[in-house]
C-alpha cells in the first residue's frame, strides 16, 4: 500500500454487514431464505483500491449493491464519509449518491441503445446548470477516458466493447465521484482492450485520487488494479490483506485454490481436478 493512502481518511466503512434475501414460495417451491452476506467488515481509504475476489454467487455483488443503496442490509452499518447511508433522509441521500458511482459488468446492456453517447452522458450531468456546460463536460469526459469527442454522436451498437466500457466510466465520472464501484470491469473484454482499461483506471485513480471497490474473480486483473484484497466464500471474507502479500503468501485454502485455478498450465489431461 502506498504511504499516502495509509495517511488518508476513511471513505467507506462497512461493519458486520449482513444481507438476507427472502424468496417467496411459488407453486413449485417453498419459502427460502438466502444468507448472501454473513457479517462482512472492511474499510476503503481515499485513493485506495480494495478488491473483493470470489466465485460466482459468493455475495460480492450484494455488497456492492448495498453500498450503492440498491439493496437494504439486514444488519450492520455502511458509512460513507462518516455518515451511515442507510440512516440518511432522502434529501441527504440524494446529495451523497453522486459521490459513489457504479461501473457495471454488462457494459453493453448498461447503455441505453436508443440514446447517443452524448445523451447518455448528459443524462448523468443533469444536475449541471446549462446545456453549454454540459456539452463542454461531455467532450472533457470523453477526453479523460481516452475517446475522441466525435464519438459522442454514435449509438452504443456502433461502439466496440472497450469503447462501451469507457463510456460507462465517463458517465460514472460525470458527477465527480469519490468512490467507483467496479463490478468485473475488465473480465468480458478482449486481452488488449482489457489492458487499456486497466491503464485507464490506474491513471484515473492517480489523477483524481479516486477510490475503487473492485469486484472480480480474475486474480491477474485484481493484482494490477488493487492495493488490498479480500477473498470471499459463501458470504464471508475468508482472508484479507495487502494485494501482494496475500497473493504471494496465501494462508487460506480457498485463496490457494483461486490462485491455482488462475494458472491453466497444469490442466489435468485425465480427469476432473
Amino acid at each position: 500500500m502506498q504511504a499516502g493512502i495509509t495517511a488518508s481518511k476513511t471513505l467507506l466503512q462497512i461493519q458486520n454487514l449482513r444481507i438476507v434475501y427472502q424468496q417467496k414460495s411459488t407453486f413449485f417451491t417453498a419459502d427460502q431464505t438466502v444468507h448472501a452476506v454473513n457479517g462482512v467488515s472492511f474499510s476503503i481509504r481515499q485513493g485506495e483500491s480494495f478488491a473483493i475476489v470470489g466465485r460466482s454467487g459468493c455475495g460480492k455483488t450484494s455488497i456492492a449493491m448495498s453500498a450503492l443503496g440498491f439493496v437494504k442490509p439486514s444488519a450492520g452499518a455502511i458509512s460513507f464519509m462518516g455518515k451511515n447511508i442507510w440512516q440518511l433522509n432522502r434529501k441527504n441521500i440524494r446529495r451523497l449518491r453522486p459521490l459513489i458511482q457504479p461501473v457495471f459488468q454488462d457494459y453493453g446492456n448498461s447503455l441505453n441503445p436508443r440514446m447517443t453517447v452524448n445523451k447518455i452522458i448528459i443524462e448523468a450531468l443533469r444536475a449541471q446548470p446549462n446545456d453549454q456546460t454540459r456539452t463542454g463536460n461531455v467532450k472533457q469526459l470523453l477526453d479523460t477516458v481516452g475517446l475522441d469527442s466525435e464519438i459522442r454522436w454514435r449509438y452504443p451498437h456502433q461502439l466496440s466493447g472497450g469503447q462501451k466500457q469507457r463510456i460507462n466510466i465517463a458517465r460514472a465520472l460525470a458527477l465527480n465521484p469519490k468512490l467507483l464501484i467496479l463490478d468485473e470491469p475488465v473480465s468480458s473484454q478482449d486481452l488488449s482492450a482489457g489492458v487499456q482499461l486497466i491503464e485507464l483506471l490506474n491513471r484515473l485513480k492517480q489523477t483524481y485520487q479516486l477510490s475503487y471497490l473492485l469486484i472480480s474473480h480474475n486474480l491477474s486483473i485484481v493484482r494490477l488494479l488493487s492495493d488490498r484484497i479480500a477473498i470471499m466464500k459463501n458470504g464471508v471474507f475468508t482472508e484479507q490483506g495487502p494485494a501482494e502479500t496475500l497473493l504471494q503468501h496465501p494462508s487460506d485454502n480457498h485463496t490457494k485454490e483461486l490462485i491455482d485455478a488462475s494458472n491453466l498450465t497444469n490442466l489435468s489431461k485425465t480427469g476432473l481436478v
Binding site: R55, S56, V195, H217, S220, N263, L264, L267
Partner: protein
C-alpha cells in the same frame, strides 16, 4: 486423414445491396481427435467461422470456398453444397455445438432433463424407455454430481457453471465426432473454468472427440489446444501447431497477443495493442491489421498479404514477419 478441411472459406453479408466481408480466405485442416483453438478479438469472425462450419449462418450471409467433412461412415461431405436436410441430419449427430451463452441456448420453460431426452429422441436410436437413464448418465458424464435433481430443474434454477455443463450434455447427446465450443468458459469464474476445461479434456480422450474451441483467452488456447488459428477482422493472420506459435509467433498480431498474455501471467502490466480492431463494414485497404501494426510499411497499406508457409503446419499472412530467430 483430416476430419475437417476448410479451403478458402469466405463469408459475405449483403444488407441492402452493400457487401460486407465477414471472413476472407480461411483455410485450415483438423485431424480426428485433435483440438483447434480459434483466437482473436471480439469482431474478428470467430463465431461466424463456427456457424459456417455447422451451417447456421443467419439469413443474408453467403459462403464461398469449401468445407469438407468426413462423416462417421467415412463419406466425404461438402458442407457448403450439402442440402439443408442433410445438414439437419448432421447437426448433433456428426457435429455438436456449445453456444456462447449457455443460458440463452437452453429453453427456459422446459426442464433440463426433458431437453436432453428431446435431443435423444431425434438424434439417437435409444429406445423411449431408456432415454431418461441415458440423459442421467450424460449429466453424470459432464461432472454434475446430482443428475436426478438437475434432470428435473429448469435452467434458471442452476448456476452458470451447471448450465454450461447441461449445454455440453445436450451437445454430446447425439454422440458427435466434432464438437464446436464457442467461448464456453468466458462467463465462468476461474475455478469453474478450470473444472470445465479439465472436463472437456477428459471427454475428448474418452470419446475421441475432435474439438474446435473458440476463445479470446490466449492462455486457455496455449494450454488446451493442439493447433491455433488466429483471426483478425475476418482474416486469418496465423495458423499452426500450438508449440510453434508459442515459441515463434510469426505475425506481429500473434506476437502482441502472446506478449500481453505472458506479461499478465508474470503479474506485469503489458503494453496494449494501440487502437481498436478494424470495422468489418469499413475495413482499411491492404492488411487489415496495418493501422495497429508496429511493422507496417507502405505495401501493407495497399496490398493484402497472401499466405506464407513457414513449415508444413505453420502458415502466416504478413509481409514483414516477426524475426523467427
Amino acid at each position: 486423414m483430416s476430419l475437417l478441411t476448410v479451403e478458402n472459406l469466405s463469408v459475405v453479408n449483403s444488407p441492402s445491396g452493400r457487401s460486407i466481408s465477414i471472413l476472407r480466405n480461411i483455410s485450415f485442416s483438423l485431424n480426428s481427435g485433435e483440438t483447434l483453438a480459434v483466437i482473436g478479438e471480439t469482431g474478428s469472425g470467430k463465431s461466424m467461422l463456427c456457424k459456417s462450419i455447422i451451417g447456421l449462418l443467419p439469413p443474408g450471409f453467403s459462403r464461398s470456398g469449401n468445407i469438407w467433412y468426413i462423416s462417421s461412415d467415412n463419406t466425404k461431405i461438402s458442407i457448403i453444397t450439402a442440402e439443408e436436410s442433410d445438414l439437419l441430419n448432421m447437426r448433433g449427430r456428426e457435429i455438436g455445438m456449445v453456444f456462447q451463452e449457455a443460458v440463452a441456448s437452453l429453453n427456459p420453460v422446459v426442464r433440463c432433463g426433458n431437453q436432453i431426452t428431446d435431443v435423444l429422441s431425434v438424434k439417437s436410436k435409444i429406445e423411449k424407455n431408456k432415454r431418461k437413464k441415458h440423459a442421467l448418465k450424460l449429466l453424470e458424464t459432464v461432472g454434475l454430481s446430482e443428475p436426478e435433481r438437475i434432470f428435473h430443474a429448469y435452467p434458471h434454477q442452476l448456476s452458470g457453471g451447471m448450465t454450461q455443463r447441461v449445454a455440453l450434455a445436450l451437445a454430446l447427446a447425439g454422440e458427435p465426432q466434432l464438437l464446436i465450443a464457442d467461448e464456453p468458459s468466458s462467463s465462468l469464474d476461474s475455478i469453474s473454468k478450470k473444472y470445465y476445461l479439465n472436463l472437456l479434456n477428459r471427454l475428448k480422450q474418452e470419446n475421441n472427440l475432435t474439438l474446435i474451441l473458440v476463445t479470446h483467452d490466449v492462455d486457455e488456447a496455449l494450454s488446451f489446444a493442439d493447433n491455433i488459428l488466429v483471426l483478425y477482422a475476418g482474416c486469418m493472420t496465423e495458423y499452426g501447431r500450438t508449440g510453434d506459435i508459442q515459441k515463434s509467433p510469426a505475425h506481429p498480431y500473434t506476437k502482441a497477443l502472446l506478449d500481453i498474455a505472458r506479461a499478465l501471467k508474470e503479474n506485469n502490466l503489458p503494453a496494449a495493442i494501440p487502437g481498436e480492431i478494424s470495422s468489418l463494414t469499413n475495413p482499411p485497404p491492404g492488411c487489415r491489421f496495418h493501422p495497429r501494426c508496429p511493422k507496417a510499411q507502405d505495401i501493407c497499406r495497399v496490398k493484402e498479404p497472401s499466405s506464407i508457409c513457414i513449415s508444413n503446419s505453420h502458415s502466416v499472412r504478413c509481409f514483414f514477419l516477426v524475426d523467427l530467430s
